[in-house]
C-alpha cells in the first residue's frame, strides 16, 4: 500500500513508564493513511499503552508522538475501538454513534450517523438500545462510532477478541472492505492472534515482553489478497511469527510460561 504523504502517525524514541514500571522502551515507528499496521505481542507487553500514546490519552516519558508533526489530541483525527464495545447503554445505537460527533450541527450529524450506520449495515437498528443487540452488532456500532468523525487513523485494541469465530471472520472482512475504500483511515490493530495479524496486516510489528520493544517489523507479502490462508508463504510466515512470539514469552521471567535455562 502506498502511504499518503499527508497523514502520518510517527513515534520516535518513545519510552513510557507507568508508576515505577517501564512499559515501553525506545519505540520508533511510522505509519500512514491507507496502511493496516498490526501490533502483535505477549500479554502485558504494552500494546494498549502504545495505542493510548498514539491517541494522545497519555504522554510519553521520553521521545515524541506526532500526528502530522503535532502531538495528537484526543478526538482530532484519531479514533479508538476497544475489545469491550464500550457503548453507552442508556443511548440508542444512533445516539451512541452521534456521541463521537459533538461539534457537528444537528442536521449534518444526523446525516453522518445514518451514513455510517448504513456502512456497517445497521441502519434498521438505529433506535435500538445496545442491550438488544448481539456482540457482533454491538461491535459494528462501535466501528460506526469510530468511523463517524472520519478519522485519519483508527486505533483498534483487540476489537474482535470477544466475538465468536464466525463473527470475527466476518468483521475482519468488513474492516478490510471499509479501510480499503478510498479515503479510508490508517489502522493500527492490536491483536494476540498470529492468524488475525496475517489476515489483516499490511505490516506487522512484534513487541517483546514488558518493557515492550520492537523485535520484528515486517511487510506481509500477501496483504489484502482474497484468501490469504491459501497463499504459499502463509504457513512459513505463521510459523516464524509464532516461534518468535513463543521465544519471547518463554524467556520472559515475568511470564507464567517462563522456563529458566
Amino acid at each position: 500500500m502506498a502511504l499518503n504523504a499527508t497523514d502520518r502517525l510517527e513515534l520516535s524514541g518513545v519510552s513510557l513508564t507507568l508508576g515505577d514500571q517501564p512499559v515501553l522502551q525506545d519505540l520508533t515507528l511510522a505509519t500512514g493513511r491507507g496502511e493496516v499496521l498490526v501490533v502483535l505481542g505477549p500479554s502485558g507487553c504494552g500494546k494498549t499503552s502504545l495505542l493510548r500514546l498514539m491517541a494522545g490519552l497519555v504522554e510519553p516519558g521520553s521521545g515524541t508522538v506526532a500526528l502530522n508533526d503535532a502531538p495528537p489530541v484526543p478526538g482530532h483525527g484519531i479514533a479508538m475501538m476497544f475489545q469491550s464495545y464500550r457503548l453507552l447503554p442508556w443511548k440508542t445505537v444512533a445516539a451512541n454513534v452521534a456521541f463521537a460527533l459533538p461539534d457537528l450541527p444537528r442536521a449534518q450529524r444526523e446525516d453522518r450517523v445514518s451514513e455510517v450506520l448504513h456502512l456497517v449495515g445497521l441502519e434498521r437498528f438505529a433506535d435500538r438500545y445496545p442491550a438488544a443487540l448481539s456482540g457482533g452488532m454491538r461491535q459494528r456500532v462501535a466501528l460506526a462510532r469510530a468511523l463517524a468523525p472520519r478519522p485519519d487513523f483508527l486505533l483498534m485494541d483487540e476489537p474482535f477478541a470477544a466475538l465468536d469465530a464466525q463473527a470475527r471472520e466476518l468483521m475482519q472482512a468488513e474492516l478490510l472492505r471499509l479501510v480499503g475504500a478510498s479515503g479510508g483511515p490508517g489502522v493500527v490493530f492490536v491483536t494476540h492472534s498470529v492468524d488475525e495479524a496475517l489476515v489483516l496486516g499490511d505490516r506487522i510489528i512484534l513487541l517483546s515482553p514488558r518493557p515492550g520493544r520492537i523485535i520484528t517489523d515486517m511487510a506481509v507479502p500477501f496483504a489484502r489478497r482474497p484468501d490469504p490462508h491459501d497463499h504459499p508463504d502463509y504457513p512459513a510466515l505463521r510459523r516464524t511469527l509464532w516461534e518468535r512470539l513463543r521465544q519471547a514469552v518463554l524467556t520472559d521471567p515475568a511470564s507464567d510460561f517462563y522456563r529458566p535455562g
Binding site: 490519552l57 484519531i78 476497544f82 464500550r86 442508556w90 443511548k91 463521537a100 459533538p102 438500545y129 445496545p130
Partner: protein
C-alpha cells in the same frame, strides 16, 4: 412484540394484573386481622377498620384533614425537594472533584450517623418554630442519604466508558452529562427513596417538636384524647403519602432506565 413481552413476564415472574390481585388479597388479609384484633382489644385502645374509615370520611368532610394535609405536604415536599437539589449537587461535586470528596466525606458520614433530633433545639433557637424550622428539620433528615448515594454514583462511573469518552475528545461537561450522570441514576434514585422516607418521618417529628401543625398536629391531638379511630385514619393518610412517593419514584426511575428492558 410477542418475544419481548414473554421475556419481560419471565423477568418479573407475574404480570401487572396478577400483581394487583395479589396485593388486594394481601390487603384483605390485613383488614381481616385488624378487624379481629380490634374486636378483642380493650375498648379505647384500638379501632376497627370500619370505625377508622368512618373517622377518615368525617375528617375529610368536616374540613379538618385538608389544611393539615396541605401544611404537612408543604413542609415535606419543600424540605425533601431542597434536599434532592442540594444533596444531589453536593454529592456529584464530591464525586467530580476527589479532593472535595475526600475532604467532606468524613463530615457527611458523621452528620449522617448523628440523630438529627439532637439538632432540633438548636434549630428552634436559630429559626423559631415556624415553617423555616420545619423545612430545615426535614431537609437535614433527607439530605444525607442523597449526598452519600450521589457521591457513590459518580465514583462508580465505568472507567472503560470514561476512557472511550476521552478518546472521542469529549469535554468534561459532555462526559458528565452523557456518561457519569446517566450511570449514576440508580444511585440517585436510591438516595432519594431513602431520603424521602426519612423526610416524611422528620415532617411529623418537626410538627410535634416545633409549633404543632399539620398531620403531626392531628396525631398529637387525637393521641392525647385517645380518639383512636381518628388517630389511625391520620396514620393511614401518612402511609398513603409514603406509598405515593415510592410509586412516583418508581415511575421516574422506570422512565429513566427504559434502556434496561429492551
Amino acid at each position: 412484540m410477542a418475544s419481548q413481552s414473554a421475556h419481560l413476564a419471565d423477568r418479573k415472574g407475574t404480570g401487572p394484573v396478577a400483581t394487583a390481585a395479589l396485593r388486594l388479597g394481601f390487603l384483605a388479609l390485613i383488614l381481616l386481622a385488624w378487624a379481629l384484633a380490634a374486636r378483642h382489644a380493650p375498648p379505647g385502645l384500638f379501632a376497627s377498620p370500619v370505625a377508622v374509615a368512618k373517622a377518615g370520611i368525617g375528617l375529610a368532610s368536616s374540613g379538618k384533614l385538608w389544611p393539615a394535609l396541605a401544611a404537612s405536604l408543604q413542609v415535606y415536599l419543600v424540605g425533601t425537594g431542597l434536599a434532592v437539589m442540594f444533596g444531589g449537587a453536593l454529592g456529584i461535586a464530591m464525586g467530580i472533584w476527589p479532593a472535595l470528596g475526600r475532604t467532606l466525606d468524613i463530615y457527611v458520614n458523621a452528620l449522617a450517623a448523628t440523630p438529627r433530633v439532637a439538632f432540633i433545639p438548636l434549630i428552634i433557637v436559630l429559626l423559631g418554630l415556624g415553617l423555616e424550622a420545619k423545612v430545615l428539620i426535614v431537609f437535614l433528615g433527607a439530605v444525607m442519604p442523597i449526598v452519600l448515594n450521589a457521591h457513590a454514583g459518580v465514583q462508580a462511573a465505568d472507567p472503560d466508558l470514561l476512557e472511550m469518552a476521552a478518546s472521542t475528545g469529549a469535554s468534561r461537561g459532555r462526559i458528565l452529562w452523557h456518561v457519569i450522570l446517566p450511570g449514576a441514576v440508580p444511585f440517585l434514585i436510591t438516595g432519594i427513596r431513602i431520603g424521602s422516607t426519612i423526610g416524611l418521618i422528620n415532617t411529623i417529628v418537626a410538627e410535634l417538636y416545633t409549633a404543632i401543625s399539620g398531620l403531626g398536629g392531628l396525631l398529637a391531638v387525637y393521641g392525647s384524647r385517645f380518639q383512636m379511630a381518628e388517630y389511625l385514619a391520620v396514620v393511614i393518610v401518612l402511609a398513603l403519602i409514603g406509598v405515593g412517593m415510592t410509586e412516583a419514584l418508581r415511575l421516574v426511575s422506570q422512565r429513566l432506565m427504559r434502556w434496561r428492558d429492551v
